[in-house]
Amino acid sequence: MSASVVAATRGAGVIVVLLAGWQWAAGTGRVDPEFASSPARIGTTLWHLLSTSSFWTVQLRATAGGFAAGWSLAVVVGIVLGVAMGLVGPIRDTLEPLVMGFYATPHIALVPLLIVWFGFGFQYKLVVVFIASVFWVLLNTIAAVREADEGLVRMSRAFGATRRQVIATVVLPGARSGILVGVRLSVSHGIIGAVIGEMFSSHQGVGFLVSESAQLGLIDRLLALVVLLAAVGTGTNAALAALQDRLERWRRPDTG
């Protein structure tokens, strides 16, 4: 067996042993399964949740709608503002203190204010998701645009390119991969933002299920939702990273 297989087995073994220990402790009553749940109970609850049609047509739909709206707005605003701030000094100087001030504010502290302003519906969710995702796009775009290859810029200038041409043919294509990193990161943060927002104020959605389960003391369902959320967030991020890797393959000289 190669070293990496041994390592992977060992890593998986630790997880399996822990889950088995938990299951055993709950099964033999060493811990109260009503209180500490168990892997089997979480699995069953998750399966039950996912096979309920209202989960898809009502809850997930509410979360996804708020996410889609807030996230697309964040991507558009983030890229447009980021390119402008990255390219034009005065715009950057004007907006950066404000942007950094909002970035430094712990966003969770803004949630109650947004609840007062927007209540618990679609609008509220849109704003929460926007705030959760816009900074990832914006800050990455500014950095990507500013990090344009100095040598290429100077060369195209020397060959007589206008400022507009330099931006269109050198700066923006060069910034693309940096911008895409920001967009990718904003997806999982936006999804989680939507759920956290719903947790604090909503009448339907995945986050509503979280707060409802907490109020009813349904620990199995809470843990099932946490597992689901972790899987969706990580899965989306990994899938998008793979996609980006594909799109950016031309960049790496070694793979042609």
Binding site: E96, G101, T105, L113, V226, A231
Partner: protein, 271 residues
């Protein structure tokens, strides 16, 4: 020599003019927005009820920080949870991170587990933790530990793992054992990475403690925000948000100061 001085002078000159432009333009925008806000809220009673106003929020802020109980009860409650949780997160993260970065077998055994736990969004655990722990100091501290542990762990592990190979080899040929090497080469070399982790961890911890208090608590800055929300006192919400932001920035700057002290000996280009 001369060209270097010229370059430095020019850089300093641009730096200053950029700073001035930023103060004038950025400050101008802030003043403009504040004036717009004040004007909007002065137009009707409904507007001022929903949006409050800069002057009202300012009054609220002054009233808040001049109350004795703000310092002795609310800020103290948040600080307690944050201090207890963050010190546990840092201690655990440093110890486990150093061990995992240094001992390969241990890393291979625990990395998959830690990475899977790291996928869980921290704030989504808050409702669960309230059910398990109530809403006292333990609950707050545990939320902070969960929020602040991973940045320290991952960055320490990474820093120790990337210990300078040549230094390691040299110290080994001079007779240093693995433990001695850990404390004289690997750990000091990982300081910049560790501090990056500490700062990230502190920021997450502030979010954690405020989130925990907004969800369930009987005192603290987050409780102030949640309470003001219940009473629909926008001015008080805004005032407390400002306090929270200032606290976060101050903590971050303090840590940055400690960092620059501790890494002063480090070669500049690798910092």
């Amino acid at each position: 020599m001369t060209s270097g001085t010229v370059a430095t002078r020019r850089r300093r000159h641009t730096f200053q003019s950029v700073r001035w432009r930023r103060i004038v333009l950025g400050g101008g925008l802030a003043v403009l927005l504040l004036l717009l806000w004040q004007w909007y809220s002065s137009r009707s009673a409904h507007n001022i009820f929903i949006a409050s106003s800069p002057s009202r929020s300012w009054d609220s802020l002054v009233a808040l920080v001049t109350t004795g109980s703000f310092w002795s009860v609310q800020l103290a409650a948040t600080a307690q949870g944050l201090a207890l949780g963050w010190s546990c997160a840092v201690a655990a993260g440093l110890l486990l991170g150093a061990a995992l970065g240094y001992v390969r077998t241990l890393r291979e055994a625990l990395e998959p587990l830690l990475f899977s736990i790291n996928c869980v969004p921290r704030l989504a655990l808050i409702p669960l933790l309230t059910l398990w722990l109530g809403y006292g100091l333990t609950y707050k501290a545990v939320v902070v530990v969960i929020a602040g542990f991973f940045p320290v762990l991952l960055n320490t592990m990474d820093g120790v793992r990337r210990a300078d190979n040549e230094l390691m080899r040299m110290s080994r040929s001079f007779g240093a054992g693995p433990v001695w090497q850990l404390f004289t080469v690997a750990l000091p070399g990982s300081l910049p990475s560790v501090f990056a982790g500490l700062r990230q961890s502190l920021a997450h911890s502030v979010v954690g403690v405020i989130g925990a208090e907004i969800w369930a608590s009987s005192a603290g800055l987050g409780w102030l925000i949640a309470n003001a929300e219940l009473q629909v006192r926008t001015d008080r919400i805004i005032a407390t948000i400002i306090v929270v932001t200032v606290v976060g920035v101050l903590l971050n700057e303090t840590l940055r100061l400690v960092e620059s002290r501790c890494t002063r000996w480090y070669p500049r280009e690798r910092r």
